[in-house]
Amino acid sequence: MFNVSNLTVAVEDNEILNNFSLEVGPGEVHAIMGPNGSGKSTLAHVCAGKEDYTVLNGEIILNGEDLLDFEADERSTKGLFLAFQYPIEIPGVTTLTFLKSSLEAHYKANNKEILSTPDFMKLVKKKAAELNIDDGMIKRPLNVGFSGGEKKRNEILQMALLDPQICILDETDSGLDIDALRLVAEGVNNLRSEKRSFIVITHYQRLLDYIKPDFVHIMYNGKIVETGDSSLALELEKSGYNNYTK
């Protein structure tokens, strides 16, 4: 379903991803762990179509199409979602307005009928309530003055609304206290389905207590150096990356 193969990516002259490959089947959850600078965030950004990276080789296939042929907004409407490590602030634009613009762009691209405003409001309120997001928050400017927990819950709210096929969570657990972490993880777990897959990028095993992965990968120097099940994450927690980074 989602297949990254032989991806080599550079920023200026530095190769960050080095012949990286990963195959994600429908409904699977893959955790990617690795020391700082191993290329985890670059992978997330390149998949989502951020500029400033030069793709030297490889493909990113979603449902038979190479996403590298499309702009960021098209990749989004084709079903790729990235939950940002640091969600961006947009002053003056309420979260609600942003959600509506985003959802409408998706419906339009996929030839679906645009929701009426009352139906849209109903949908947002329902999804927001599940994430313990109150009305006040979605009326505030997007991410402006949001706490770390609010920002991350807002990311999951968007994920729930846009109904993506492949979700990449880029260190979603960073900056969260234990309650917020649980809430965010529950939100993600509610979205797990046979059709939807996840790539969870994290530094800590803690998140994986809540979001149980099918596979755990260790990334180092721009590629995957080890793959296992959830016990691999537990082992890392004890002994660190030393065994894999030599």
Binding site: E51, E71, A72, G92, T97, S101, A105, F120
Partner: protein
């Protein structure tokens, strides 16, 4: 392509190349002899069948103009204007003044129809178009004023200034140039000498004007300047909301628009004046476009009076404009809300003056400047308090948004206070639309063009919501925003 470069390209595309009002109407016109001279002034006055006192008033202004110099302090550059190559009066043939709709040349009606300006009262009354009374000024003359009769039932006078000079000389004599003296500045003097038409509004005491009043200015003829003069008087306890819109055809040469707008609010009166300025801005290389040199000033003459300016500036090659408030009456209030968007090689030097003279006067300035392309966008403002102006209050907020790295934004606030009880606040920010914001929107499926519109919309929100509904729609279109996507 790096995001910012593409952003600039996108903005260029939505801005200049899509000037929707660039067409011109083919009409037979009557013009004054080319160039500026005493003869031209006499010609205009005679064309308008003006009384002798008005002619003398104009000639006096012309003499003052001759002794004045072009102001050079603004941050704008343009070649010297050659007044000898310009027409100062141009009117569609057979139009001597506003007529009833049946008599107006169908070609003219079509022009306004194409511009989306409602002139047909029936349509408006039947709810097809919004409820606005319109004075339509085409080049140098007012061609039609709608709803005059309905308004006169309330004692409201809404007509062209040419008619007012003939029909209401006592009001014109009393108030004309009482806010902007003839020799106030170079362009005001020029306007006083050669002004051709504009609107006149008088709201009688304790009357709330039942509909929005509006003037729609259109420059059509080539090599012609437009010099309009607008005078609005809100008598004691009255209220009026007034809208102004303007467009011009796409032409290679620069055209001059030098207007004067005077507002007078007596005791407990309120005037709300909104402008959507969309003169032709020139092409993407900075060729052509309107020089927009405008003097707008309101006088809060009575106690508890209020004047509020709202402007959306998107057009013109060069803009030089400072809608101001003289807060003369005690407890009077002045407001200025502005969105100024510059693109390509446009230059804007705009802002306001809040002159606090009375006691307990307060003013508020919200200015949003958006620069793209190679443009230059300056806010220039003055907030001052007289020594007798006890408890003057001002709050100023100037925000600039930059798109791309070839444009510039400047903020030049002057604060002068002669009374120690004054409290003046000034806040300013400068920001850029970042690649990260564009990427974030893109990751959520929002295209770059829509993302820019969304971000700019958010940036201008405080000002957009000050516009009357009818204009808010036009303004949002202009800003490249679709409010369809907004429910917040």
């Amino acid at each position: 392509m790096p995001a910012i470069k593409e952003t600039v390209k996108q903005v260029d595309d939505i801005g200049v190349d899509k000037y929707k009002f660039g067409w011109s109407t083919d009409l037979e016109t009557e013009k004054a002899p080319i160039g500026l001279s005493e003869e031209t002034v006499r010609f205009i006055s005679q064309k308008k069948n003006e009384p002798e006192w008005m002619l003398q008033w104009r000639l006096d202004a012309y003499q003052r103009f001759l002794s004045m110099k072009v102001p050079e302090w603004a941050k704008v550059n343009y070649p010297e204007i050659n007044y000898d190559d310009m027409y100062f009066y141009s009117a569609p043939k057979d139009v001597d003044g506003p007529k009833s709709l049946d008599e107006v040349d169908p070609e003219l009606l079509k022009t306004y129809d194409k511009l989306g300006i409602p002139l047909k009262e029936q349509e408006i009354l039947s709810g097809v178009k919004s409820n606005i009374a319109v004075d339509a000024v085409f080049d140098s003359v007012s061609v039609v004023t709608t709803f005059k009769e309905k308004l006169s039932e309330e004692g409201i006078i809404f007509c062209s200034i040419s008619e007012a000079i003939k029909d209401h000389p006592e009001l014109v004599k009393k108030y004309l140039s009482s806010v902007i003296p003839k020799s106030d500045n170079y362009y005001a003097a020029l306007n006083s000498a050669v002004f051709t038409d504009g609107s006149f509004v008088y709201i009688p005491p304790n009357t709330r004007c039942p509909m929005e009043l509006s003037t729609y200015f259109r420059i059509n003829a080539q090599n012609t300047g437009q010099f309009e003069r607008t005078l609005i008087i809100a008598d004691k306890g009255s209220y009026v909301s007034y809208l102004e819109g303007c467009t011009a055809p796409q032409r290679d040469e620069n055209q001059l628009h030098a207007a004067c707008v005077e507002l007078i609010a007596l005791e407990n009166a309120e005037i709300k004046y909104s402008t959507v300025q969309n003169w032709y801005p020139g092409d993407e290389n900075g060729v052509g476009g309107i020089y927009n040199f405008v003097t707008k000033r309101g006088d809060c003459r009575g106690k508890n009076s209020k004047i509020s300016w709202t402007q959306v500036e998107t057009g013109s090659a060069v803009t030089w404009k400072y809608p101001s408030c003289i807060l003369r009456g005690d407890n009077s209030v002045g407001e200025f809300y502005s969105i100024a968007i510059s693109n390509s090689y446009q230059q804007i030097d705009s802002g306001t003056k809040m002159v606090h003279l009375g006691k307990n006067t307060s003013s508020k300035i919200i200015s949003k400047g958006i620069s793209a392309g190679h443009s230059s966008n300056a806010y220039r403002g003055l907030v001052s308090s007289h020594r007798r102006a006890e408890n003057a209050r001002n709050f100023t907020q100037c925000d600039s948004l930059l798109i791309g790295n070839k444009c510039s934004a400047h903020t030049v606030p002057y604060i002068e206070t002669k009374n120690s009880t004054s409290i003046f606040e000034h806040e300013a920010t400068t920001s850029k639309i970042s690649d990260d914001q564009i990427f974030y929107c893109g990751q959520r499926g929002i295209s770059m063009e829509d993302a820019i519109a969304l971000i700019v919309n958010g940036f201008c929100k405080e000002v957009l919501q000050e516009l009357p509904m009818e204009f808010a729609v036009e303004a949002q279109k202009l800003v490249g925003i679709s409010l369809e996507g907004s429910v917040g």
